[in-house]
C-alpha cells in the first residue's frame, strides 16, 4: 500500500506541471489583462504596474518565476485584491467552503444512503415511489433555485435564519447554505444507492445468504452494504473535491466568502495568480482524493489489488 501511495505521489508531479503550464498558457491567451480598464490609463502608469508584477517579462520567464514561488508555497500577489497575496485569500475562503461542503456531504451521504436503501428494500412499493419522487424533485431543483427559495421561506416569510453572511461559521449562518447545497446531492446519492442495492439484492451471493437462512439484517449490512457502496463511492470521489472547493452560486447568493467566488471572479478579472492558485489547489485536491478513492475501493472490493 505504501508503495502505491508513493507511486501516486510521483505521478502527481508531472500531472501538476502540465496543469500549471496549460492554465498559464490559456490564461495568457485570453484577451484582456488584469489592469485593463474602461477609460484606460497612460502608458507610463501601465508600465509601472507591469514592472511591479513582472508582467513586462516574456511569458515563459513569468511562468518560471511563478513555479519558483510555487515550490516555496507562495501563490503570488493578487491582481484584483491589491492588499492581499493569493495565500492570504485562498486559505480562509477554502476553510469556509470546506466547512459548508463537509456538512453538506455528511448530510447528503447519511440521508441519501438511508433514503436509497429504504426505497430499494421497498422496491416498487409506495415508499419507493414517494422517496424517488422526492429525490427527483431535489435533482431538478438546482442550487440557484433552492437558495432563493430557502431564503424566501426561512429568512423572509418566517424570520428564522439569516439570509446570508458567514460570521465565522456560526450555526445559524451555516444552515441555509448547507441545505441549499445538500438537497441536490441527497437526491443523487439516494438514486444511485437505490439502483445499486436493487442490483446487489438480486445477485447470487445474496440468494445464497438467503438460502442459508441468515437474518435479513445481516444480509443487508454484512453482505449487501459493501458492494452496494461501490458506485456510490465512485460518484463521491470526484464530487468530494467539487463540494469542498465550494460553489460560486452559494458564495454569491449567501455572501459567505467561500473559494468558489474567487475562482470565477479570478477568471473574469484576469487575476492570473488567483486563477493559478485556485487551479493548483483544486488540482492537488483532486489528485489526493482520487488516490483516497482508489484506496477505499481496495478495501470494499476484494477483486481490486494494487
Amino acid at each position: 500500500m505504501l508503495n502505491f501511495i508513493f507511486r501516486r505521489f510521483l505521478q502527481a508531479i508531472p500531472t501538476l506541471l502540465v496543469l500549471t503550464m496549460l492554465t498559464f498558457a490559456l490564461m495568457y491567451m485570453a484577451p484582456g489583462s488584469p489592469f485593463l480598464t474602461e477609460k484606460g490609463m497612460p502608458e507610463e502608469v501601465l508600465a509601472n504596474i507591469n514592472a511591479k508584477y513582472h508582467l513586462d517579462l516574456p511569458v515563459w520567464e513569468q511562468y518560471l518565476i511563478y513555479l519558483g514561488n510555487l515550490v516555496q508555497g507562495d501563490l503570488g500577489p493578487s491582481f484584483r485584491y491589491l492588499d492581499f497575496s493569493v495565500n492570504d485569500l485562498v486559505w480562509p475562503s477554502l476553510a469556509v467552503s470546506a466547512t459548508i461542503g463537509a456538512w453538506s456531504l455528511l448530510i447528503a451521504v447519511t440521508l441519501g444512503i438511508t433514503m436509497g436503501m429504504i426505497a430499494a428494500l421497498n422496491h416498487n412499493k409506495w415508499m419507493d415511489y414517494t422517496l424517488m419522487t422526492t429525490a427527483m424533485a431535489g435533482i431538478v431543483l438546482p442550487t440557484f433555485v433552492m437558495a432563493p427559495l430557502l431564503v424566501l421561506l426561512l429568512s423572509y416569510k418566517v424570520k428564522l435564519l439569516p439570509a446570508g453572511g458567514w460570521h465565522d461559521g456560526d450555526w445559524q449562518y451555516l444552515v441555509l447554505p448547507v441545505f441549499a447545497m445538500a438537497t441536490h446531492l441527497i437526491a443523487q446519492i439516494a438514486r444511485i444507492t437505490r439502483g445499486s442495492l436493487i442490483e446487489v439484492m438480486s445477485s447470487n451471493f445474496i440468494r445464497t445468504a438467503q438460502a442459508k437462512g441468515l437474518p435479513y439484517r445481516t444480509i443487508i449490512l454484512r453482505h449487501a452494504f459493501k458492494p452496494m457502496m461501490l458506485p456510490v463511492v465512485s460518484y463521491l470521489g470526484p464530487l468530494f473535491v467539487g463540494v469542498l472547493t465550494g460553489s460560486v452560486i452559494i458564495d454569491v447568493f449567501f455572501g459567505t466568502g467561500g473559494i468558489g467566488q474567487h475562482f470565477v471572479n479570478g477568471a473574469i478579472n484576469r487575476d492570473y495568480s488567483m486563477v493559478m492558485g485556485v487551479t493548483v489547489l483544486v488540482g492537488v485536491m483532486y489528485i489526493a482524493f482520487n488516490a483516497v478513492t482508489d484506496i477505499i475501493y481496495a478495501y470494499i472490493d476484494p477483486k481490486i489489488r494494487y
Binding site: 485570453a30 484577451p31 484582456g32 489583462s33 489592469f35 485593463l36 480598464t37 474602461e38 477609460k39 484606460g40 490609463m41 497612460p42 507610463e44 502608469v45 509601472n48 504596474i49 514592472a51 511591479k52 508584477y53 500577489p77 484584483r80 485584491y81 491589491l82 492588499d83 492581499f84 485569500l89 480562509p92 475562503s93 469556509v96 432563493p148 431564503v151 424566501l152 429568512s155 423572509y156 424570520k159 439569516p162 439570509a163 446570508g164 453572511g165 458567514w166 458564495d251 454569491v252 447568493f253 449567501f254 455572501g255 459567505t256 466568502g257 467561500g258 467566488q261 474567487h262 473574469i268 478579472n269 484576469r270
Partner: protein, 538 residues
C-alpha cells in the same frame, strides 16, 4: 480689493463659518424631535469587494465609498456635490489660480492620536505618483497638472519633485502647471487623501489590514473578511467624532442584486439594491423605500470613426437620429433614466448643457432625417448598411441593443448583427479598435463637465475620433473661470461630428430602510459619508 484678496476674505469667512457651525454641516444633522435608536449600526451593500483600501490605489466605486468613511481629504463633498471643508478649513489661490494654499485644521488627528499635518498630504500625493507604488489611478494627479506629476510617473523625476509642499505643519501648498478652476473639487477624491507614513513604511502592502491600519476619517477598520463583510467602528480621535452618530458600519460586498434584495427583505441591510426589472412589483410592495436619483453617468454607443462605414459622418448621424431614446428610458431601463443627446449629464455642477438641435425634433422628423442621410451615404434596400454591434455581456445591454437594432431597421435599410463579449474581452476589443460600433458608459471622476468631455479631448480614445477644434476648446477650458461656452461648443461639435451616440443618463436605484436618516442618496456622484447618517427609533 483684487480678486485674490476677495477670494481670500470669502474663504476666510467661509472657513470661520465652517468652524463655528461645524456640527450643522459636517456631521449627522439630526432634526429636532427625532428619537434615535439605541443601537446605532448601519449595514449597507457596497456592490462589490473593493480592490484595495489604500486611498492612493483605489480606482473603483466600492473602494471610494469605504475610503470616505476611513479617511478624510482636504475638502469633503456636500450633499449637492459642492465642495466643503475637510481637513482643510479653506484655501487661497494666487492671482492666476496656479498655486493653491490649503489651511489645515489643527485638531485633525489620525486614529492612533498623531496629528494630521501638511506632511501627510505631501507624502500621500508623492506616493500616488511614485512608480514604486504603481497606482492604477496615478493619472488622477496628472489631470489637474500638478507640477512634475507626469515626469515622475514616467520615471524621469523623483517623487520629491512633485509640486506639493508643506509650508508648515498646517499649510499645504500645491503648484499646478496651468490654472484649474475646479481643482478644489478634485481634492475630495481618494487619490488625494493623506497617508500615514510610519504605518505604510512599517507594514508595506499589508498596512490596510485591520490590525495595522491608521485612519483619519470618522471610522476605523475593525474587521475585513474578503467577499463577506467589512466592519468599521468610530474613530474616537476624529476631530468631529462628537457629532457622529452611527457607531458601527458594516459594508457587505453583495454583487448580485437578487441577493441584495433578499437580504434587504430579511432586514439584514439598511441600504441595498434590487434587480431593476422587478421595479413594478417592488413599487407596490415597498414603494416608499425605493429611491431613484439622477447620477453623473452617461450611457452611449461609440463608433470607430476610422473604419468604414463609420468614417462617414452621415452614417453616424443617421444611426444616432433613428434611436428613440424615450422608448428606451420609459420601457426598457424604466427606472427614471433621462434620454441623452449630449455626453455631459444634465446634473453636472456649474454647467447646464444646451440641448443640440436634433434633441428638439420629433422622433418622426429624426427618422426622416436619418433615412435621408443614409440614402445620401449610398445605402438602400438593395445595398443595406451591415454592421456588428458590440456590447459587454449583460441582459440589460442586450435588451437595449435589440431595441436599437430594431429601431434602425424600421427607420432605414440597416442590418445589425449583435455581438456580446465578456467584460475584459470586450474592453480589449474596444481598446484595440477591433469594433465598428460598441456600447460604452462613463461616470464622472469629479463633478465637472471636463470629466466627460475630456474622454474625446485627445486622439487617445477607443473610437479614434480627432477634432482639433474640440481638443483646443478642451485645453483652453482648463484655465477659464467659466468654461461653459467652450463646453457648449464642444457638445455642439459632438452633435455635428457624432463620434458617439448618447443614449441615456443613468440613475441610481436604491432601497433604503425608513429607519435611516441623513443618507445622502441624492448626491450626484453617489458620494455618501456614513458620519452624516443616523438611525431612528422605530
Amino acid at each position: 480689493m483684487n480678486k485674490t484678496k476677495l477670494l481670500q476674505s470669502m474663504l476666510l469667512a467661509s472657513a470661520v463659518a465652517a468652524t463655528s457651525f461645524a456640527p450643522q454641516v459636517l456631521a449627522a444633522n439630526v432634526p429636532a424631535g427625532t428619537k434615535l435608536a439605541d443601537v446605532q449600526e448601519f449595514v449597507r451593500d457596497n456592490g462589490a469587494e473593493p480592490g484595495t483600501l489604500d486611498p492612493q490605489k483605489i480606482e473603483g466605486v466600492p473602494g471610494a465609498n469605504i475610503a470616505r468613511d476611513l479617511f478624510e481629504g482636504l475638502m469633503n463633498q456636500a450633499r449637492n456635490g459642492d465642495e466643503m471643508p475637510g481637513v482643510a478649513l479653506g484655501y487661497t489661490t494666487n492671482d492666476n489660480n496656479t498655486v493653491y494654499t490649503f489651511n489645515l485644521r489643527k485638531d485633525a488627528k489620525w486614529s492612533n492620536g498623531d496629528t494630521v499635518t501638511a506632511h501627510d498630504f505631501v507624502y500621500g500625493w508623492q506616493r500616488a505618483v511614485d512608480p514604486i507604488t504603481a497606482s492604477p489611478y496615478s493619472w488622477f494627479i496628472e489631470i489637474p497638472g500638478i507640477s512634475n506629476a507626469s515626469a515622475i510617473i514616467a520615471g524621469d523625476k523623483a517623487p520629491s519633485e512633485l509640486g506639493v509642499r508643506a509650508v508648515d505643519d498646517y499649510t499645504f501648498e500645491v503648484t499646478l502647471d496651468a490654472p484649474i478652476p475646479f481643482f478644489a473639487k478634485m481634492v475630495t477624491h481618494a487619490t488625494l487623501f493623506p497617508a500615514h507614513r510610519a504605518t505604510i513604511e512599517a507594514h508595506g502592502d499589508k498596512w490596510t489590514q485591520p490590525d495595522n491600519i491608521v485612519t483619519n476619517g470618522a471610522y476605523t477598520l475593525s474587521d475585513w473578511r474578503v467577499n463577506e463583510r467589512m466592519v468599521m467602528t468610530r474613530n474616537s480621535n476624529y476631530w468631529n467624532d462628537s457629532e457622529t452618530v452611527v457607531n458601527k458600519v458594516t459594508y457587505l460586498p453583495i454583487e448580485a442584486a437578487s441577493a441584495s434584495l433578499a437580504r434587504y427583505r430579511a432586514d439584514e441591510l439598511d441600504f441595498g439594491y434590487f434587480p431593476t426589472e422587478q421595479i413594478k412589483q417592488l413599487r407596490e410592495e415597498m414603494g416608499d423605500e425605493i429611491y431613484i436619483t439622477p447620477k453623473l453617468c452617461t450611457y452611449y454607443y461609440i463608433m470607430n470613426v476610422e473604419k468604414a462605414p463609420f468614417d462617414d459622418v452621415r452614417v453616424r448621424k443617421a444611426l444616432s437620429y433613428a434611436i428613440d431614446r424615450d422608448i428606451i428610458t420609459e420601457h426598457i431601463t424604466a427606472t427614471g433614466q433621462m434620454p441623452a443627446y449630449g455626453l455631459t449629464p444634465d446634473i453636472t455642477n456649474n454647467f447646464s448643457p444646451k440641448a443640440p438641435a436634433y434633441a428638439g425634433m420629433t422622433q418622426a422628423q429624426r427618422n426622416e432625417a436619418a433615412a435621408a442621410l443614409l440614402a445620401e451615404a449610398g445605402y438602400s434596400d438593395s445595398n443595406p448598411l451591415e454592421m456588428n454591434l458590440l456590447y459587454n455581456t449583460s441582459e440589460g445591454h442586450k435588451k437595449i441593443a435589440i431595441a436599437i437594432s430594431q429601431m434602425w431597421k424600421q427607420a432605414m435599410p440597416v442590418d445589425t448583427t449583435l455581438e456580446n463579449q465578456e467584460w475584459k474581452t470586450y474592453l480589449s476589443t474596444r481598446n484595440e479598435g477591433n469594433f465598428s460600433i460598441a456600447r460604452a458608459g462613463w461616470c464622472g471622476d469629479y463633478n465637472e463637465a471636463s470629466t466627460f468631455l475630456d474622454l474625446l479631448g485627445s486622439g487617445d480614445n477607443d473610437g479614434n475620433y480627432v477634432n482639433q477644434e474640440y481638443i483646443d476648446l478642451m485645453k483652453s477650458a482648463k484655465s477659464m473661470a467659466d468654461p461653459s461656452a467652450n463646453y457648449n461648443r464642444a457638445e455642439e461639435i459632438l452633435a455635428e461630428d457624432m463620434p458617439i451616440i448618447p443614449i441615456y443618463q443613468y440613475t441610481g436605484v436604491n432601497l433604503i430602510k425608513p429607519r435611516v436618516g441623513g443618507f445622502a442618496y441624492d448626491n450626484p456622484e453617489g458620494n455618501v459619508y456614513t458620519r452624516d447618517v443616523y438611525i431612528k427609533a422605530d
